[in-house]
């Protein structure tokens, strides 16, 4: 397992990049801890797969260096970097048995057969394919095949890092829960350095200790799931994480007071905002209380999704979403209050740090 340093990495697919927009991956400069579980989260085209391929060595960055445990591996091939990778669609060796598929990466590296047998049996047990061990991999279902791919990624104990490229895409919802928690538990047990690429926030948040949110070739925030949820440092993070995403409402700030439409909310602190900046208030649907007190709203639609209700409403002439508990009722004269501690203020889309709050700010 290794610590990964990304030093001033940039990548452009075309030749001679000049403008920032020529780069598919804009400057990335970070250190990732040994044994950490990282998720790269973002919409398609945000550069997350590019970054993953640079780490695995399938792609050479246009600029910058990449270090594993302080050793420069920028010019090393994928084999020499000693990493494991699981792809979006199952990659299996059709003609081999399930057992041989898992043994393949070990046998290629001349691991003694007794050790191969021990590791393979352990992994086969874990992915729940013991009964299929001697079967040819060809006839299996898509999720069984993907389990083999996952297993091949986990079978080597000596890898520097294990990379996952949207590995649960072809898996049915129920099986996702099982596989995800198994991965997470494995990480707790063995402390692999893991990097997981996905567009699915639930996968990213539940899997990772640190989530790297990417947008348009840039990293917009790296944080724990809680930080991303409570203190999104950019309105994009607020929108992208959470479903529905954060409500972002245009607002004007005066000292510690925020004006929204005809309403005024006390923040409890006075954000420092450069003059002329576009200011917005961000509040998550989970932190708006719907009841008989507070500011008036007009409800346009209630979506009952079982364990909770999503209320779509007009507040100060802007659409907002409110989350109401399964058993919560919706009054006929609805009013809302915002949880003061959950309010974030944005200037030109970036969060204004609240120096007075302990633990706040990115």
């Amino acid at each position: 397992m290794a610590r990964i340093n990304l030093e001033h990495i940039r990548h452009a697919y075309g030749p001679n990049p000049k403008k920032p927009s020529d780069y598919s991956l804009k400057e990335v400069h970070h250190e990732w801890n040994d044994g950490g579980a990282y998720a790269l989260l973002g919409p398609s085209g945000c550069g997350k797969t590019t970054l993953l391929n640079i780490i695995s060595g399938l792609l050479q960055p246009s600029e910058g260096r990449i270090l594993f445990d302080g050793k420069d591996v920028t010019n090393l091939s994928t084999q020499d970097r000693n990493i494991a990778q699981v792809f979006q669609f199952p990659v299996i060796y059709d003609t081999m048995t399930v057992y041989d598929n898992l043994a393949f990466p070990l046998r290629n590296r001349r691991v003694p057969e007794t050790e191969v047998d021990r590791r393979v049996k352990e992994i086969i047990e874990m992915i729940g394919l013991s009964d299929w061990s001697r079967k040819k991999a060809q006839g299996l279902t898509a999720d069984q095949k993907q389990k083999i791919s996952l297993g091949r990624g986990l079978v080597r104990s000596d890898v520097s890092a294990i990379l996952f490229d949207e590995p649960l895409t072809v898996i049915d919802p129920h099986m996702k829960w099982v596989l995800r928690s198994q991965l997470k538990r494995l990480h707790k047990q063995f402390g692999f350095t893991m990097v997981y690429v996905t567009h699915d926030q639930t996968e990213a948040l539940t899997f990772a200790d640190k989530v790297v949110v990417m947008y348009d070739g840039e990293i917009v925030q790296i944080g724990t799931p809680a930080e991303l949820f409570e203190r999104p440092s950019h309105t994009f993070v607020g929108y992208f994480i959470g479903s529905p995403g954060m409500n972002v409402l245009p607002a004007t700030v005066e000292g510690s007071a925020v004006h929204l439409g005809g309403q005024t909310i006390n923040l409890g602190f006075a954000p420092k905002i450069a003059s002329g900046a576009r200011t917005e208030l961000g509040i998550r649907p989970e932190f708006i209380r719907l009841g008989r007190e507070g500011m008036p709203v007009t409800i346009s639609k209630v979506e009952d999704i079982g364990r909770q209700k999503i209320v779509r409403a007009q507040f100060a002439d802007k659409p907002i979403a409110i989350v109401v508990h399964e058993d919560g009722d919706i009054p006929s004269d609805p009013r809302v209050t915002f949880d003061q501690a959950a309010i974030n203020i944005y200037a030109d889309s970036w969060r204004v740090p609240d120096t007075s709050r302990v633990g706040g700010g990115a």
Binding site: S56, L58, S77, T78, Q79, I83, A84, Q85, F87, Q88, F89, V91, Y93, D94, T95, M96, F104, P105, N108, R109, K136, Q138, S149, R152
Partner: protein, 288 residues
């Protein structure tokens, strides 16, 4: 994939059925008719039963020709299939090289059989042919007209030149269908070049190889035009394959009965061997 059923479809294929009836079924029935009768001319036919079949199957001439056929097909398959795979593996995957290679590969396939025969017939001549003359100048004894070995080598080399491209193109199509992720995964798994071939490329080429194998087998087993043009079945009977023997019997000697019997036997052999190959190869597929 299931198809929409539609009774109109039968009307659409009707013209083809009629064509096939005229071009294949009716001539075949005529051949069957000839094979069981004898004639002394004047359109007077006598029932001959299975006599002609017995005659053919008991003649050395038939068995010798069949052996030549099997040997020829065996040799060219043993060379063309591996050679085709090897070339396909080394063809460029992207860039300008791809169309250039594909066109070069397709060229021999576009030349008609009889022209190929003529080209090689001239090419190998000691007096005016580039190959024959060069060999002679180098002091190598080469004469496909008199030497059995030289005649066979010429036919085999010619067939390889003409048909390996087909194997290459089929294999290339098979290789092109393998997603990049497979090669990337193999790299990460530390697979050797041989392992990549054995466990990724070969399994993915299996279906096209089956097609290439059957096509090349059937075609080479029915070879006629090229040996007819180059060697005329000689020297002696050294390159008299079943097809040439058949033409000699039917047109040269006008023995319609035996020729019809021979052609039916010939047809059944090809059918049987193709079926055996197909079953064996698809069965090995099912077991994996």
């Amino acid at each position: 994939m299931q198809k929409t059923w539609n009774n109109k479809a039968w009307f659409m294929v009707l013209p083809v059925l009629v064509l096939v009836a005229f071009s294949a079924v009716i001539p075949l029935m005529t051949v069957v008719n000839y094979s069981v009768q004898d004639t002394f001319g004047n359109n007077a036919f006598f029932w001959a039963g299975t006599d002609w079949f017995t005659d053919v199957l008991q003649s050395d001439r038939f068995w010798d020709a069949l052996q030549r056929n099997l040997l020829f097909s065996g040799i060219i398959l043993a060379i063309e299939i591996p050679l085709g795979i090897l070339i396909a593996l080394n063809m460029p995957k992207k860039g300008l090289g791809v169309p250039v290679c594909l066109v070069l590969m397709a060229l021999p396939l576009l030349i008609p059989w009889n022209v190929v025969g003529t080209i090689w017939q001239v090419f190998g001549r000691v007096d005016i042919g580039l190959l024959g003359y060069t060999m002679a100048a180098l002091g190598i004894q080469y004469n496909y007209v008199n030497n059995v070995f030289d005649a066979w080598v010429t036919l085999i080399v010619m067939d390889i030149w003409h048909w390996t491209s087909l194997v290459v193109l089929l294999c290339y199509a098979g290789l092109a269908s393998i997603p990049d992720a497979y090669y990337q995964a193999a790299k990460i798994d530390g697979a050797s070049r041989w392992a990549v071939f054995r466990y990724i490329q070969l399994p993915k080429m299996k279906r096209v190889l089956l097609i290439a194998f059957l096509l090349r087998f059937m075609d080479s087993f029915m070879i006629y035009t090229e040996p007819f043009v180059i060697t005329g079945g000689g020297p002696g009977n050294a390159t008299t394959f079943l097809s040439i023997d058949l033409v000699k019997t039917a047109i040269g000697q006008f023995d319609l009965g035996p020729a019809a019997a021979l052609s039916l036997i010939y047809f059944l052999i090809i059918l049987l061997l193709s079926w055996i190959f197909y079953t064996v190869m698809t069965n090995s597929d099912a077991q994996t």
